[in-house]
Amino acid sequence: MVSENAIAWYHFSSPKNFYPLAGRLIPWFWGLAVILLVVGLYMSFFVAPTDYKQGESYRIIFVHVPAAWMSMFIYLVMAAYAIIGLTWKLRMAEMMASALAPTGAMFTFLALWTGAFWGKPTWGAYWVWDARLTSELILLFLYIGYMSLQSAIDDPRRAARASALLAIVGVINLPVIYWSVKWWNTLHQGASVSPTMAPKMASIMITTMLVMTFAFWMYTIAVVLMRARRVILERERQTSWVMEMVNADPQAEMKK
């Protein structure tokens, strides 16, 4: 059983085998993402009740928190792939790390953006330099730094190694973001949901937030697999299997 798994992992860690597997998986993750998004949005606006203090504006939480969670989670996964890529010189892990970065950066930006539009009606300001907001902004810079470092170095292997180091160093920022509201006086409120405490939200609100989080998660897997396929094509363009695939049925490959 274990050895079979090991063989499967080894098999799909080769870009040649990963490429068609990703192609088969993408539609399933799209399906899940769309269903969860429809349900989540319906719950966000028609099922979740008005908040006793903030009224309707609190509904921004249903995109803000999932986006913020994804921004940190994607970084963690990216750093894990970076470590795997560095240690075992695994090309597929390097490519997955670079395929994750743009989506992570997007969710970081969206967390900041939706936070600004939630902060204005509740706190009275779009932005304050408090520890939570500042550390999330640093996360955005880390993603941008990672991507620009990669595009600045021509040799893909060296680019992967250098950017992997940056990604790993940047992991320090994740606990800072997470516990910033505890460690410092911040305008940002504390966590409503955490593994160690009873939730401080009505359960229907939490359910809605979780559905939206799973929707964003499935979206991330789908779009990152799509990007990984492009990265594979770019980096493996010299190999015979890519050329054979392109020549075999170019029109069909184009449509996918």
């Binding site: 008005t50 504006s57 921004i60 939706t114």
Partner: protein
């Protein structure tokens, strides 16, 4: 209906949040799809050039 969009006076903030999030996600998907097709087209051109070289 207009009550729904007004969101108790917070419509602007709510729709800016949900709207921009949706917009970014749609744009990202289109951009990724396009960029893969661009790479494929390049590869196809390369392959054809190789083929012609081999034939001549």
């Amino acid at each position: 209906m207009s009550d729904f969009f007004a969101m108790g006076g917070h419509g602007f903030f709510i729709w800016m949040s949900f709207g921009v999030t949706a917009l970014f996600m749609v744009i990202e998907v289109i951009a990724v799809k396009r960029s893969r097709q661009t790479v494929l087209k390049q590869l196809l051109r390369l392959a054809r050039a190789d083929l012609r070289k081999a034939q001549s």
